[in-house]
Structure formats: C-alpha cells, structure tokens
C-alpha cells in the first residue's frame, strides 16, 4: 500500500456526539487515505451513521475535529461538506419524489447555460452518462416518485458520483442492491480510488467489505475498537471485535415437518407489475421469494397483504379467501407483514417505541374498549426484551434508534400479534451480523412453532441458508420453484436472470 506512509487525506480526530442522554459516538479517531477504500463496521447502533452525518455536516461534533488535508474543517451544513469535496450516500434514500431523476441527481448543481439558466439537455446527458458508468438504465425524465428502493439507492449513488468528490462516504449503499449492481458500484468505487479519492464504506456484509476495502475500522457502542489493514484480518476476528464475542451459526435452520397449507395464492395478477403468481406456504415452512431487485417480489407480498389491489387471482389463508385491498382483514385472518421500507412503512418515527410496538394490537390490549397504561407498557417491554432491542427509554421516539434496532421493533410489533403467516420483506436489511443470526434464529423458531413464513430476500446466502423452498421471480413471473436441495447459488441466479432451465 503506497498510502501507508503518506499523510491521510481526511482524518476523524477524537469526535464525540451525544443525543440527549445517548452518547452515540465517543472519542472516535481514524484516518482516510487517498486511493484507499476504508470500511467502517460495527453492530447496529454502534454509531457508524452518526459518524457519517458528522462528515456530511448534518451534525456538528460535540468534541473533536475533522481534518482535511491537514486543516481543521468546520462543517456548518451539508453544503459546506459538499464544498469541501465530501460526497455522502446516506443510509436512507433522500430523494425529491416530484422532481425528475436527472434533477434529483443535480439539484443545486445543475449545469448552467446562457444567462445562468439551467441547461436541461446537458443535465440529461450527464445523468445518462452517470447511469452508464453504473451500468443501469433509468429514464432521467421520469419523476422519482414510485421508484423502487433499489432504484432510489442507485440514484443516490449517481448523485454522489456526480460530485466528483475527493472523499466518498457510503452508508450501507448496497443494502438494497443485488449482486450485479453491487459489482458495478464496486468497479466505480475502485476507479475513484485509482484517481486518488478516499472512500468510506459501511456495510454489514463482510464479503463486500473484504472484496472492496483495504483498511477497516471497527466500532462498538459508540467507541473506536481498532483500525487495521484488511489483509491482516479474518472475518471471525472482525466479528469478535464488533460483537465482543463469537457468533455461532448464522443460519440456525431447524428441521420441521411441514403441516397443512396455510397461505395459498392462485393466479395473482396486477397488470404491468406481476402476473399469474401461484404458490402455497405450509405451517412450519420457510419459503423464500428470491430474485433480482425489481423482480416484483415486494409487490406480490404487498398485494397479498392488501396494501395494493390486484386485478386477477386470489389469496387464501387457511382456506378462507382474503378480501382485496384490506390490510386490516389480512391482519385479522392472521397475516403479518414486515415491510421492506421500515422508515416509511414499518414505523411511525415520531411515536415512541412503546406505541410502535403495540400499534398492531390496540384492540386486544384494550379492556371495555379503553386502553389503560399498564398493559401496553408491559407488552412493549416484554417484546422489546425478547428481541433484545437496544433503547434508552420506551417512551423515546422510535426514530432515534439505529437502523437495526428499528428493524427489531418492527419485528416485535408483528410477532406480538401471534401470526399464522409471517411475511418478511428483506428482514435483515441493515442488520448487523449478531442480530442477523438472532433474526434467523427467530424465524426458524417461529417456523418450528407452526408459523408459515414467507421471506423475500435479496441476500443469496440468507435464502439458501434459511429456506425450505425457494421461489424465484423474474420480471413479474415465477420462473422456478426449487426445493432446499435443488437450490444452489447457480440454480437461483439462473432463474433470477430469466434463463429458463431446460
């Protein structure tokens, strides 16, 4: 590594940040060298995103400084960070739904033509060029509203690239992407490094960290643990430093004898989105819905749950047909859906942890139609404890939790309803390795208790490790239904890319 001896391009020096009583980051220091990709790992809530936000100028550090080119930076806001050459991809997409994709990328930096006016043609061409670099095709003229999470993430990436920054910070950019897109992203990131930029990369997927990064910093509970060249590390070492202990098995799949069919779907069609979807899930079974991003998996489960209407077909739970377009009826008949976008769909960010955890069970928790304090609190405490949610007080707004802990609250609020069918959409998106194992154990446990689990996941190891059966979707259709034995990385990818097997 040539950068070893040279002065770092950017340095985080002794920064701390507290939110009220929560010390999110304490005295953390690490360097970012030009030409290098640097990984930042840690459990959910370790303080990674908080560091990112300090680099982005969103939060001002309580103590400590950020040093760029040997000079102390005082970032008064996101604009100052951009001006200093720091580009940030946030953990959650931050798009303008009413504006076109191209404008989303270039907002505030649109190419100018005559009289200081925006040159729309140039802007569109620039957007197309960026997408070409990323190897994707998104219509730059369409509004951002209605784009899938993956497409949104790609636009975020394009936005960051367009800044031509010297420091690129990426907070879990790959959480919603599938293999192909991740590869393209890495190719771009490597190219940037070659031009001398520094990259800070955050991910819970170690294969990605190890394939992209040259150096790695571990954080635990808001404090710095270690910074080492990746070449000197193994995955087990990193995990131990992160969690403070060994993580046994990541996919603790229990063998269960499947019972009766609980969820049945026949000929489900929503024009232009998916068509003729049919499958069934038995009690005790974990069925994975695999496929590339944009294959329509989330749309299918949303339709089954009643969020979206469908044009043809039917869904049945325990033989009883579900009404179209009524989530309340779906819940009543025993379905639970853990949605893919926890910020928008999973949680009410401004409400407390307690309120969120009991939101699905207001009726059962009330007596004579009235809700008294105690029962809700007890229920919330019980379930957050079972899922080991890390929080300060139950009355804190759920929005102040880290991404992974938020995900656990979503799981808690659904598990509390004692569902017959549990649909989970990307259940471990943005969840650290320790928690991931817990979630998997939980799913496995639930299946063993007779719950029918339908799991949408873009993470192949998760699909292969957890599922009894794998349904693969491609462009709105099911292209393969594989048993646990038939399912391999090759067979799933084969079907997911639409090359129908002979």
């Amino acid at each position: 590594m040539g950068g070893e001896r040279a002065a770092p391009l950017l340095e985080v020096r002794g920064v701390s940040k507290s939110f009220g009583a929560v010390a999110a980051v304490r005295e953390v220091s690490f360097p970012l060298h030009g030409g290098e990709a640097h990984a930042l790992v840690g459990e959910n809530g370790a303080g990674k995103s908080t560091i990112v936000k300090m680099l982005a100028g969103v939060h001002e550090p309580d103590t400590g400084v950020i040093v760029l080119d040997g000079r102390e930076l005082r970032l008064t806001g996101p604009a100052a960070a951009q001006a200093a050459g720091i580009a940030v991809i946030y953990q959650e997409p931050t798009l303008f739904p009413d504006l076109s994709v191209a404008e989303n990328i270039f907002m505030g930096r649109q190419p100018l033509g005559r009289f200081g006016c925006i040159d729309r043609a140039a802007m569109k061409a620039d957007a197309v060029r960026l997408f070409d670099r990323l190897g994707v095709r998104i219509d730059p003229d369409r509004p951002a509203r209605g784009l899938s999470i993956a497409d949104q993430q790609l636009i975020e990436i394009a936005k960051a690239l367009s800044l031509d920054a010297r420091v690129l910070v990426m907070d879990e950019p790959t959480a919603a992407l599938s293999g192909v897109e991740v590869e393209r992203l890495f190719a771009v990131a490597r190219a940037l490094c070659e031009q001398g930029a520094a990259v800070l990369f955050i991910s819970h997927r170690f294969d990605e960290v190890f394939s992209l990064c040259q150096r790695l910093t571990v954080m635990r509970d808001g404090t710095w643990v270690s910074t080492d060249p990746v070449a000197d590390l193994t995955v087990d070492q990193v995990v131990r430093r992160m969690v403070g202990r060994d993580v046994s098995t990541l996919f603790p799949k229990e063998d269960v004898e499947p019972g009766d069919v609980v969820l049945e779907v026949h000929g489900l069609t929503r024009h232009g989105v998916f068509s003729d979807i049919g499958f069934s899930v038995r009690a005790g079974e974990i069925v994975a819905l695999a496929g590339l991003v944009g294959a329509g998996r989330s749309e299918v489960v949303r339709a089954v749950f009643g969020i979206d209407r469908y044009d043809e077909g039917e869904a049945r739970v325990a033989g009883k047909r579900l009404p179209v377009g009524s989530p309340a009826a779906a819940v009543a008949s025993g379905i639970a859906l853990v949605p893919e976008d926890r910020r928008q769909q999973g949680l009410v960010m401004e409400l407390s942890i307690e309120r969120n955890a009991t939101l699905t069970r207001l009726k059962p928790l009330s007596r004579l139609g009235l809700l008294g304090g105690g029962r809700e609190r007890r229920s919330a405490r019980e379930w957050t404890k079972r899922l080991q949610v890390k929080y300060g007080r139950l009355s804190d707004a759920v929005g102040t939790l880290s991404g992974g802990n938020q995900q656990k609250v979503v799981l808690a609020k659904w598990l509390a309803t004692d569902p017959k069918v549990l649909i989970v959409d990307e259940p471990t998106r943005g969840i650290d390795v320790g928690t991931k194992a817990e979630v998997h154990r939980l799913l496995s446990r639930l299946a063993a208790d007779g719950v029918a689990v339908l799991m949408v996941s873009s993470e192949l190891p998760e699909v292969l490790g957890m599922a009894d059966r794998v349904l693969v979707m491609h462009e709105g259709r099911i292209t393969a239904s594989l048993t646990r034995d038939e399912a391999t990385e090759e067979s799933v990818m084969f079907a997911a890319t639409g090359r129908v097997s002979a």
Partner: protein
C-alpha cells in the same frame, strides 16, 4: 428526431399538462356565455375580464411561489389591504408623488410584511399556516387601527396614478400587462434557475433538501418576501383600479387566491405546479364571476358554483395524475 415527431410529442405533452384541463374549462365557459350573450366577447368585455383577473393573478403567482415550497401564506389579503391603504394615504397626503415611487413604496411595504412572515416561518421553524393565520389577524388589525374608518376616494389621488388602472396599450389594459409580466418572470425563474428549482425540491421533501445542502431557511424566507412583495404590488394595483380604499379592502381574498392556485393544479403540499396554472386558475375564477353575472344566473348560486368548480378542478387533476401513474406502471422504471 423529425419535426413531425417533435410536434406529436408536443401535443402529447400538452395533453398531459395539468394546465390543459383549466384551459378547456375556461374555453367551455366562454363559449357557453358567448352563445347566450354574443357581446361577451366584445373588446370592452374582454378588457374587463383581463382587468378583473389581473390583481388575483398577481396574488396567485406570489402564492404559488410559497405553496411550491410546502408553505402557505394566508396573510396576502391583509397585506393587500394594508398596502392599498398606505398607497392611498401616501398619494392623498403628498399628491405630487410620482406613480413609480408609489409602486415602489407599496411593493416595499408588502416585502416588509413578507419579511415578517419569512423570519417567523424560516427562523423559528414553525408551520406557515399557523404563522400566516396569525399575521392575517395582525396585519388586518394594524390596517384597521391606522385607517380608523377613514376612506380614501378617487378624488384624493392624482389622475396619473389612477390611470394605471384604466390605461390601455393597443387595447390591452396596463394592469393586465403588468400581471402578465409578473407571471412570465416568476414562471421563467422557477423553471430555469437553480434557486427556483430548489423551491420545488424543498416542497417535495424538506428533509432531503436539507441533506442536499440547499439553504432551506433562506429559500423559504425569500419565497415569503416575494409573495409579500407581489401582494404589495397587488395592493397598489387595487388602489389604482378601484380608487376607493378603506380598511376592509381585500378581506377574505386569501381563500380565493389559494383556490385559484389549487384550481390551477398547484399541489397544496408542495413540490409541483406552475405559476401559469395558478394564473389560469385565477382567470377562470374571475371569468366565472363575470359569466354568471352576464348569464343572469341567480346570484345566490354563484358561490356554490365556484365551490363546485374547485372540487371539480382538483378531482380532474387527481384523475390525470392517476392516469399518468398507471402509464408509468405499465412501463417498467428501467425503460428509458
């Protein structure tokens, strides 16, 4: 791309544009009225229509700038009233004041009111609806305490100033030309300048706008100042056109202004819409007033019709939006 293809694309775009529906409604209204009463399209009558709409158009343009950034300014009617009275007072106590100075003073006073709104909304970060509802009461109260039942009449003001309200250039009233110029200037700015686009971004997703480094507070502040200044301009125009000013001028006009913007396809929660739509909305609302008067429709029905029309307009807008969304659903997002 051939010219023909370009042309059909243009037609297609036109058909999709939110403003299209209003133009059709306006056309139908004029047609029906003209069939009943042919001189509805006489030059004098058209002049009257333009005159009638001009002030509302100026207000609606200003309101659009604010609504686009997910705010609202309910105080415009009070600002208009205050400025109209101030202008009248200025001209009646110093009759030698040139018209240009009167206009500048009025616009300036409006901008000052906008500054008050802007500071409260942007610096104290509080919802604009609450603030401007508060300043609606406050500005109107100041207007009342100042006027104390005094009325300023046309005879108190110089003829040159009043001429602003009646002069025409090639048959087109000066007032309408001013409104047109305001609309085009603001429309051009919102579409073609970075800071204009940033207003849309702020309205579309304020949190994301902050993260993108947009100076949200400053932009919102500016939008209120612009809206206030335009309300001030409208106040001056009002004084010139009607010549009779007391403390009640412009009472309740704020709802009409918001209605014009909404009818014109400006989304009430920000992020989309154009000043052209809002201006058309204003023109439509005033034309309804004139048409119903010409058609001798029971005056009691007028307000009900206006209300029904607002509902129809937002309903239609919704229908078009759903149609567009369905088309997007048909094509995959990856289709270029």
């Amino acid at each position: 791309m051939s010219a023909r293809e370009n042309g059909s694309r243009f037609v297609h775009k036109l058909w999709l544009a939110r403003e299209f529906g209003i133009v059709v409604a306006l056309g139908l209204l004029v047609l029906v009225t003209t069939v009943d009463s042919p001189n509805f399209l006489s030059p004098q009558s058209l002049r009257d229509l333009m005159l009638g709409a001009a002030i509302l158009v100026v207000l609606a343009v200003g309101q659009t700038v604010v609504i686009i950034s997910r705010n609202i300014d309910l105080s415009v009617g009070a600002v208009l009233g205050l400025v109209a009275f101030a202008t009248g007072k200025l001209l009646s106590s110093a009759p030698g004041t040139p018209t240009v100075v009167a206009v500048l003073v009025g616009v300036g006073l409006g901008a000052v009111c906008g500054v008050v709104n802007g500071v409260l909304v942007a610096a104290a970060r509080v919802p604009a609806l609450v603030i401007t509802l508060g300043t609606l009461y406050a500005f109107r109260g100041i207007d009342h305490s100042w006027a104390r039942g005094e009325q300023i009449n046309a005879s108190d003001m110089p003829r040159s100033f009043l001429g602003l309200g009646t002069w025409t250039v090639l048959g087109v009233p000066v007032l309408a030309l001013i409104a047109l110029a305001v609309m085009l200037a603001v429309g051009f700015y919102l579409r073609n300048y970075r800071s204009g686009r940033e207003l849309y971004a702020i309205g579309s997703e304020p949190a994301a706008a902050r993260l993108s480094g947009i100076p949200v507070g400053r932009r919102v502040f500016t939008s209120f100042v612009v809206c206030g200044a335009l309300a001030g301009l409208a106040g001056v125009l009002y004084a010139a056109r009607f010549g009779t000013i007391d403390a009640t001028v412009g009472t309740g006009i704020e709802l009409q202004v918001v209605a014009a913007a909404v009818v014109g396809g400006v989304a009430i929660f920000g992020g989309s819409g154009s000043v052209y739509g809002a201006a058309l909305g204003a023109l439509l609302l005033t034309t309804i007033g004139s048409s119903l008067a010409v058609l001798r429709i029971n005056p009691f029905w007028q307000q009900a019709v206006v209300g029904g029309l607002i509902l129809a307009a937002i309903g239609l807008d919704r229908l078009l939006a759903v149609r567009a969304a369905n088309r997007l659903r048909g094509r995959s997002s990856h289709g270029a």
